[in-house]
């Protein structure tokens, strides 16, 4: 397995997956990111990132129920794993720590 550090896009996608909880599949993640960050990502990029995260063990996936929509195809649903949660918290803590120690003059100059 490659290094455990998280890319910026990967972090964003994981957060979105967590946000959407039981409805996190490719198109939904893509749209949510577009809505919140106004960032256009192609569907294949989303899938690629999710596949990568899954191979790192930060998300796991299952197939939902078949419906008449989507040409009868099931949704490929993702959920953040414990390991994923941990790594997200780690990233957040690291950032907060840095934020708290930035001297106030740095942004006022």
């Amino acid at each position: 397995m490659k290094g455990t550090n998280l890319g910026e896009l990967e972090e964003l996608i994981m957060l979105t997956v967590a946000l959407l909880y039981d409805e996190a599949y490719g198109v939904a993640v893509m749209k949510e990111i577009k809505k919140r960050c106004n960032r256009s990502i192609t569907i294949s990029t989303v899938h690629a990132a999710l596949a990568r995260l899954q191979s790192k063990g930060y998300v796991d996936s299952r197939y939902g129920e078949a419906t008449s929509e989507r040409g009868g195809r099931r949704k490929h649903l993702f959920r953040v794993t414990k390991a994923g949660q941990k790594v997200l918290e780690q990233v957040k803590e690291q950032r907060n720590a840095i934020w708290s120690e930035i001297p106030s003059v740095a942004f006022n100059a």
Binding site: Y25, R73, H76
Partner: protein
């Protein structure tokens, strides 16, 4: 969703399905389809489909790729196939070697041909605006005189008049390549320029060449200006700044250097390294004072014109007869002006006389080379297929067992194609090395200067890969199909021949022989024609005559030169004249007595010794009296003139050179002699006149003595008289041979290719026969046991080959006859096609084939039958 009826393109889905990991596939296509349905609503079906495609393309990345089904088992199978291929190549060394030699030859020949043809096609690519530039040429027809040829020679007035009168002709530029090497003198340095052009002032701009030094606007405007190539300037002036310096050049006039340009690249029709301004030649303006370069009558200038982009050159050509009619009506019925596109000039102008100073290629040569290489390639391919097919008996057990073990047909084909692939790979590498090593001899034979770097270009490397793939597939697949075809049952039962291969093999063999016979017939004819041209009597004794080109320096002291030469015992005769066979003669019009029209006449200015030096036979009357100028107002004519005029007695008939000029009597008739290449020119009616004050050339007949020593003596005399210029001479017979350089290059190439083809055929035949005999060994042994004689066995094997060769001959002969007689048509003096080439080609092939087959069958027939029959 309302638009459920619109479906995304199915083929994309199938592609994605084929590519993607099955586990991911459903999620991916589901998402794609969801987006698609949305897009149909928002942007309509057409746009949605396009977006669907673009989004789908995004999924073709390694992350989604199906894990390969090639399991380790498949790897092992392929490993095994490659191993068996190597082993089988190793085991059948003889056949492998035959195949390899064939492939190497084919690839070498084809690769060289490819690079050669590519190199030829790249000529003149560097000239910007080339597609709008045309070179003026004309068809010169004169039915009464039997003249009909194409030539680039034009008069100096044609270009300017076209540009003045027709708006679609944007500009013109005229070129006169100087006939001779020019010596440029600066201080005490004498440098030879063998490529000097006299050009219009716009010449460099016209062809889009930039100056390195000098003002492009005025560079060749003033009379007596000269522009030099970088290299030439360097050798004359060294590191000094050349601009403004003076050099002594043509006619010992001073020229001012006004510009320096880059050397012309190798792949250029235009070959110059010094340019002299046109104004230098205009009477009353420049010191050269050549009025003939600036009138309608004289035809010695080469004219380029630039047309407007939108103009159809045909329309311009259609207007030219009218221009001729108005300005030059005397020739309007004889000269038909045409335009040759600059881009086509190099390869497609070989039938047009192009004069000194231009490089030209030959499309005939390119086609012949391409065709020959292709044919050799075919022969080698056929060899390969034949030998592979014949190995069916040897491989069938392997195929049978593999099939039993569960190999699919496709896998088995892969096994055989991989064998071809290995052979081709090795052959390609060897060919490449061979070509690199043979490049300089090949360049010499073909008269080209292909640099080594041409073979590092993408085209050459690409060609190599192309060959590997092409041969592996085109040549490898068919035998692979046949070899892998037999059903298991028949193989393991031991059925013998594989059905279809037998007749196919014979067809291929016939085809191969047809190619070979075709090439041999062509070669023999080219050899005969070239020999004919080189050995045809010229009407004078060309052996042992050498011509020294005089320069002004020695020309002034020619009497001293001649006398000194005659002191040598091995110099038999010396003649100094303007004209010699191969130079200094020109054609004009004359008005012989009793002929109302004007007659195109070849003019020779000669001295009294000319006839003796060249050993020309006198048919009637006498030639010019020696040691006297009494004959200045008398003419000698050639037999052609007498025949053309139909004179019974030519002596005393008068000829004049302008309608109202003085006429002079004929005092003698000489035998016809050739003065041009026999390849293109006939003998014209000729007038020889006595001219003792034009010391251009000194012709020297030398005896049987030591040639080397005699030349040293001439050089010695020369260097005592000349300080500026080196001795420059040629042998007349050599000059004539040099005229057939294109034919002799064609000859060398044709010989090489037909030699290779027959070699390959023989090689293939050897392999094939050996294999057939291997299969027939038992049959032969049984025949022997039953009392068949050696001869009956040999004739049994030979019979089918004789049939094959006969059919091949019947196919090839008419084709060769058609092609070669077309080639011969181009020559004024040519051999009859005859039957000798056909008899030789057929006989030679038959002989070689029978020899090979008989040798092999004797060997087989002589093996003890008990040996072959015992192991069953």
């Amino acid at each position: 969703m309302s638009s459920n009826n619109v479906k995304p393109p199915g083929w994309i889905q199938r592609l994605v399905e084929r590519f993607c990991e099955p586990y991911l596939f459903e999620g991916i296509t589901g998402d794609l389809e969801e987006l698609f349905a949305e897009n149909v609503e928002l942007r309509g079906p057409a746009k949605a489909k396009l977006l669907y495609l673009l989004q789908a393309i995004g999924f073709f990345r390694m992350r989604f790729k199906k894990k390969s089904q090639t399991t380790s088992n498949m790897k092992a199978i392929w490993h095994n196939y490659l191993l068996t291929s190597f082993r089988s190549l190793k085991r059948h060394k003889a056949f492998f070697a035959i195949n390899l030699v064939g492939l190497i030859t084919a690839i070498t020949c084809s690769l060289f041909a490819l690079v050669y043809i590519y190199d030829e096609s790249q000529f003149d690519e560097h000239i910007s605006d080339a597609e709008n530039i045309y070179r003026l040429y004309k068809r010169h027809i004169n039915e009464t005189e039997g003249v009909d040829h194409l030539t680039y020679e034009t008069s100096g007035m044609m270009g300017p008049t076209m540009t003045d009168e027709y708006p679609e002709v944007v500009s013109f530029s005229r070129v006169l390549p100087w006939w001779d090497d020019v010596i440029l003198t600066y201080e005490n340095k004498n440098i030879v320029s063998e490529k000097l052009y006299i050009v219009d002032s716009n010449f460099l701009d016209f062809i889009g060449e930039d100056l390195i030094l000098g003002d492009p606007k005025t560079v060749l405007t003033a009379p007596a200006s000269i522009a030099l190539s970088e290299q030439l300037a360097k050798s004359i002036f060294g590191d000094e700044n050349p601009l403004g310096k003076t050099v002594v050049g043509i006619n010992d006039v001073d020229y001012t250097v006004t510009g320096i340009f880059k050397e012309q690249p190798r792949q250029s029709s235009l070959q110059y390294n010094a340019l002299v301004s046109w104004s230098s030649t205009v009477p009353n303006v420049g010191s050269l004072n050549y009025s003939w370069m600036n009138n309608w009558l004289a035809q010695g200038i080469y004219t380029f014109v630039k047309l407007d982009k939108q103009t159809d050159p045909k329309l311009v050509v259609d207007k030219l007869p009218d221009m001729m009619q108005r300005h030059f009506s005397e020739r309007a019925d004889h000269y038909f002006l045409k335009l040759m596109p600059f881009t086509k000039m190099y390869l497609h102008g070989e039938d047009i006389r192009h004069g000194r100073g231009f490089r030209s290629g030959s499309i005939t040569f390119v086609y012949t080379l391409g065709l020959s290489a292709f044919l050799v390639f075919l022969i080698a391919s056929v060899n390969y297929v034949n030998i592979m097919l014949s190995r069916a008996t040897q491989t069938k057990t392997e195929v049978g067992i593999r099939k039993v073990m569960g190999s699919s047909r496709r896998q088995l084909m892969g096994r055989f194609v991989s064998e071809t692939f290995i052979s081709t790979l090795i052959a390609s590498i060897v060919s490449y090395i061979i070509i690199l090593l043979l490049l300089s001899p090949l360049n010499m034979v073909t008269g080209k200067e292909i640099p080594l770097s041409a073979f590092y270009q993408p085209i050459a490397i690409g060609a190599i890969f192309g060959f590997i793939v092409l041969i592996s597939l085109a040549v490898g697949v068919y035998p692979a199909m046949v070899l892998s075809s037999p059903p298991v049952s028949s193989i393991l039962q031991g059925a013998n021949e594989i059905g279809t291969a037998g007749w196919l093999r014979k067809c291929l063999l016939t085809f191969q022989y047809a190619i070979s016979i075709f090439l041999i017939v062509c070669t023999i004819t080219v050899i005969r024609q070239t020999n004919y041209l080189q050995n045809k009597p010229l009407g004078f004794d060309k052996e042992q005559v050498l011509v020294v080109g005089l320069r002004n320096e020695v020309g002034e002291k020619v009497d001293v030169f001649e006398n000194e030469l005659l002191n040598h015992p091995n110099i038999l005769s010396v003649s100094t004249s303007r004209s010699v066979p191969g130079g200094g003669n020109y054609s004009t019009t004359s008005f012989p007595e009793g002929y109302t029209d004007e007659l195109t006449t070849r003019i020779f200015g000669v001295d009294q010794e000319f006839f003796e030096t060249y050993g020309i036979q006198v048919n009637a009357g006498r030639t010019f009296l020696k040691g006297s100028i009494a004959d200045t107002n008398n003419f000698v004519v050639n037999q052609e003139m007498v025949d053309f005029m139909g004179w019974d007695d030519a002596i005393g008939k008068h000829i004049r050179f302008s309608p109202d000029g003085e006429s002079y009597p004929i005092i003698g008739v000489i035998d016809n002699f050739h003065y041009h290449s026999l390849a293109s020119a006939t003998i014209e009616p000729m007038v020889l006149y006595l001219e003792t004050n034009q010391a251009w050339n000194t012709s020297i007949r030398i005896g049987e003595g030591n040639v080397r020593e005699t030349i040293d003596y001439i050089d010695d005399v020369w260097s005592r008289l000349a300080t500026r210029t080196p001795l420059d001479f040629f042998f007349v017979d050599q000059w004539f041979n040099d005229q057939y350089i294109k034919e002799s290059q064609l000859l060398k190439m044709a010989t090489a290719y037909s030699f290779i083809s027959i070699l390959l055929c023989a090689l293939g035949l050897y392999g094939l026969t050996a294999l057939i005999l291997l299969q027939k060994q038992k049959e032969i042994s049984i025949r022997k046991v039953l009392g068949a004689s050696l001869t009956s066995i040999i004739s049994l094997v030979n019979r089918q080959f004789i049939i094959v060769i006969s059919i091949a001959f019947l196919v090839a002969a008419p084709l060769a006859h058609y092609l070669v007689s077309g080639w011969l048509e181009k020559f004024v003096y040519r051999i009859e096609m005859g039957t000798i080439a056909f008899i030789l080609a057929g006989g030679l092939t038959l002989l070689i084939s029978l020899l090979i087959v008989s040798m092999l069958s004797i060997k087989t027939a002589n093996t003890n039958p008990s040996k072959t029959l015992s192991n069953e």
